[in-house]
């Protein structure tokens, strides 16, 4: 190796050590606060564990128990449908509103403020407010609907209505997140690119579909990914409405996990449920992450 080559190799080694030194603290934090607890929970999921008793290794019994429990599967499918409903309705609404508001519109600032308003409301207060508005017999909205001869939403007795209402509340509360990401992405789309598309004869729809949407795709992927990960943990909306009732028919996975932890104190089962939720998040996130890496590799 020449002198110059040796120097370059030495520089590379120095740079590598410098990188490790700089990223080390952050990696250490990740290890301490994410990886180690995750490893502990993974171990806990293979034990029978409760307060005041030593954890007993049971292998994969907890997972087998979950697989055989019809209530777990009901919670799984309820979560699946609720999460997908929430994420895609939010995406459609958020994108629609963002597109509307990037064009000319009076009182734009006021409208944006109104859209962002729910995110400033405490989650539990917002849910209780919705609940009281739609309370059977005495809820304001229920009474209006009855006066207007409309059918009322039987959310306290019909699990589908419960999950529908929970989804509406979740969309109401989290729409500002999706909207903000997409709105800010849309405002950064270069006008000259759109003008070029127009000169090339693209209609407004074609320009949106083939140019704008492609340009904001990384933002869409981030919004969808984050909302999926958060929505899988949906808890408060269903818990504060019915606690998963009636008859545990509207239960979602986070409530199942809550019962195992705080009601039955079965930490092994709770950890196994948590791991299933994690796996569910990963399975959903992987295609989006893959797409994001592809977009990033392709460059702007």
């Amino acid at each position: 190796m020449t002198e110059a080559g040796r120097r370059r190799a030495g520089d590379r080694r120095a740079v590598r050590w410098f990188h490790y030194a700089m990223t080390g603290p952050a990696l250490g934090l990740l290890l301490a606060f994410l990886v180690l607890p995750a490893v502990y929970v993974a171990w806990l999921s293979t034990t029978a564990s409760t307060y005041g008793q030593p954890a007993r290794f049971v292998g994969l019994d907890n997972y087998a128990h979950l697989a055989a429990d019809p209530i777990f599967w009901r919670a799984f499918w309820n979560t699946f449908f609720v999460v997908n409903g929430i994420v895609y309705v939010e995406l459609a609404l958020g994108l629609g509103l963002a597109v509307l508001l990037t064009g000319p519109m009076p009182f734009k600032a006021a409208i944006v403020a109104v859209i962002l308003d729910p995110s400033a409301t405490t989650e539990s207060s917002g849910i209780v407010m919705w609940r009281y508005m739609l309370e059977p017999d005495v809820g304001l909205v229920t009474q209006w609907m009855e006066h207007a001869g409309l059918p009322t939403l039987e959310w306290s007795t019909n699990p589908i209505a419960t999950l529908l209402l929970a989804s509406v509340i979740a969309v109401w509360h989290h729409l500002p997140f999706t909207f903000l990401i997409l709105y800010s992405a849309l405002t950064t789309v270069p006008q000259d690119v759109l003008e070029a598309a127009e000169i090339d004869g693209a209609s407004r729809w074609q320009a949106f579909w083939r140019v704008t949407l492609r340009l904001i795709m990384p933002a869409i992927l981030i919004a969808v990914l984050f909302r999926y990960i958060f929505a899988i943990r949906t808890f408060a909306e269903v818990w504060l409405l019915t606690e998963g009732g009636p008859a545990r028919l509207s239960e979602v996975l986070a409530i199942y996990l809550y019962r195992e932890t705080f009601k039955y104190h079965e930490f092994g089962m709770a950890s196994a449920t948590g791991f299933v939720m994690l796996a569910m998040s990963l399975v959903i996130a992987l295609p989006y992450l893959k797409q994001m890496y592809r977009e990033a590799a392709r460059g702007p």
Binding site: E135, P136, E154, E243, P246, F262, K263
Partner: protein, 426 residues
């Protein structure tokens, strides 16, 4: 002009200051902190009301401030177990409810027989053995009963008068008929439901099932919820729900919701703990202050008193408590007969039956005699065992299925038996 008494007081104060010398100017020793995990009702019973603050002399004597950490029913128990299971806990005393505890948690708490032998609670034998048994596992007494919450029948006397009813129902069948009669729309458009109950656990439905001669789990751990008598009770509840006598959202109601129903006049009757009388008649919150009366539950179909549900809250000392002697001294104080009377005056359900005989209690608590009567035949919701919480959830789930019409009552209760039996202690 200064009186002789005032002059003497000033002089004695000055002499005391001289005798204390430099100590008199030194700052007082900071009070120790004593942490109790409890529900708000325990704090109120021990410290607030016509009975006064029972803990005051103990705090003064020990130069200790009590920090009451209060939570909802489920959370109190959860927090108590969590604190007690730590290597080093912060709780000196915790309150736990019979149906949330079990043999698996016995190791978290002191065996209080040892303390009772060393420094006995006077006349401990007066506390009913059944209440002590609710917190005893494997011969070990893990907690000393403090409060019982026994169900009575609360009813709105204004609605009774409107419908020409003169008094509470005498039998369970009368109660069912009356609930139907009292389901109506008032002139102001308010929908009144004949009976309101919370279905967050089996405590309220179990009263009616027992009224029909049935039960859920017997004290010797047998599931009898599928017996013909139990199914009759369940079928009656389903029928009331179908007819709209029970509110549409009954399965979603919690204790607080029932309180609101009664306060707003949306419910004509409910079976709930006697001391809810205070909430239902609270002039600040109720539209019917002084008009919600309470009696013992009606007689069952067998003509005997319907066994009212009772719960027993008890005081436990975590094994990791720092000063167990001090914890026991407070348990002892809160358990004396005089304390029980004061706590009853503050709204507690006394674990010493003699409290009901006290003249002050009789004068201040209008339901004292009825509660004492109900207590004589009361039963716990379920006996304590490791899977009690899960079993109760299964019962509520299947009862919900029956009420919604997803299953026939007999099929639903057969399913309860099938799922709960493997969870029972062998």
């Amino acid at each position: 002009m200064t009186t002789r008494r005032e002059t003497l007081k000033t002089l004695s104060g000055a002499l005391a200051a001289l005798a204390a010398g430099p100590l008199a100017t030194a700052p007082a020793r900071a009070a120790d902190r004593f942490t109790i995990i409890a529900h708000a009702v325990h704090k109120a019973a021990a410290t607030t009301g016509p009975g006064g603050d029972v803990t005051a002399p103990w705090r003064a004597q020990n130069n200790t401030d009590i920090e009451w950490l209060t939570f909802g029913v489920e959370a109190v128990n959860e927090r108590a177990f969590k604190e007690a299971s730590l290597a080093e806990g912060n709780a000196d005393l915790v309150f736990i409810l019979d149906r949330y505890t079990g043999p698996q948690f016995a190791g978290l708490f002191e065996d209080l027989r040892t303390w009772q032998t060393k420094d006995a609670i006077p006349d401990f034998g007066e506390i009913p053995a059944g209440m002590v048994a609710a917190h005893s596992f494997g011969g070990k007494v893990t907690a000393i009963p403090f409060r019982h919450a026994t169900h009575g029948l609360h009813y709105n006397t204004e609605y009774f008068a409107e419908k020409g009813v003169t008094g509470p129902p005498k039998t369970v069948t009368d109660a069912v008929a009356l609930a139907e009669k009292l389901t109506y729309k008032r002139a102001d458009g308010l929908q009144v439901y004949g009976l309101v109950m919370n279905f967050d656990d089996p405590a309220t439905p179990i009263d009616w099932i027992r009224g029909f001669g049935g039960d859920f789990i017997t004290s010797d751990y047998k599931v009898v919820v599928d017996s013909p008598a139990s199914v009759r009770g369940v079928a009656m509840l389903c029928d009331l729900y179908k007819k709209g006598v029970l509110p549409k959202n009954s399965m979603n109601l919690k204790t607080e919701d029932v309180t609101t129903f009664m306060q707003q006049g949306r419910g004509a009757m409910t079976n709930n703990p006697f001391n809810r009388y205070i909430n239902y008649n609270d002039p600040k919150a109720s539209k019917f202050p002084g008009k919600i009366a309470v009696s013992a539950l009606p007689l069952g179909v067998d003509g005997k008193p319907m066994p009212a549900k009772t719960s027993v809250w008890a005081m436990a000392i975590p094994v990791n408590a720092k000063n167990k002697q001090r914890s026991w001294s407070l348990v002892k104080l809160l358990s004396t007969r005089e304390s029980a009377i004061a706590e009853t005056l503050n709204g507690n359900g006394p674990v010493r039956p003699s409290a009901y005989e006290d003249a002050r209690v009789k004068a201040l608590i209008p339901y004292a005699a009825a509660e004492k009567e109900a207590l004589a035949s009361a039963r716990l919701v379920v006996p304590g065992f490791a899977n009690a919480a899960k079993s109760m959830d299964i019962f509520i789930e299947e009862l919900g299925n029956a009420m919604l019409g997803n299953k026939e009552p007999a099929a639903a209760m057969a399913e309860v038996k099938k799922r709960v039996t493997p969870l029972l202690p062998t």
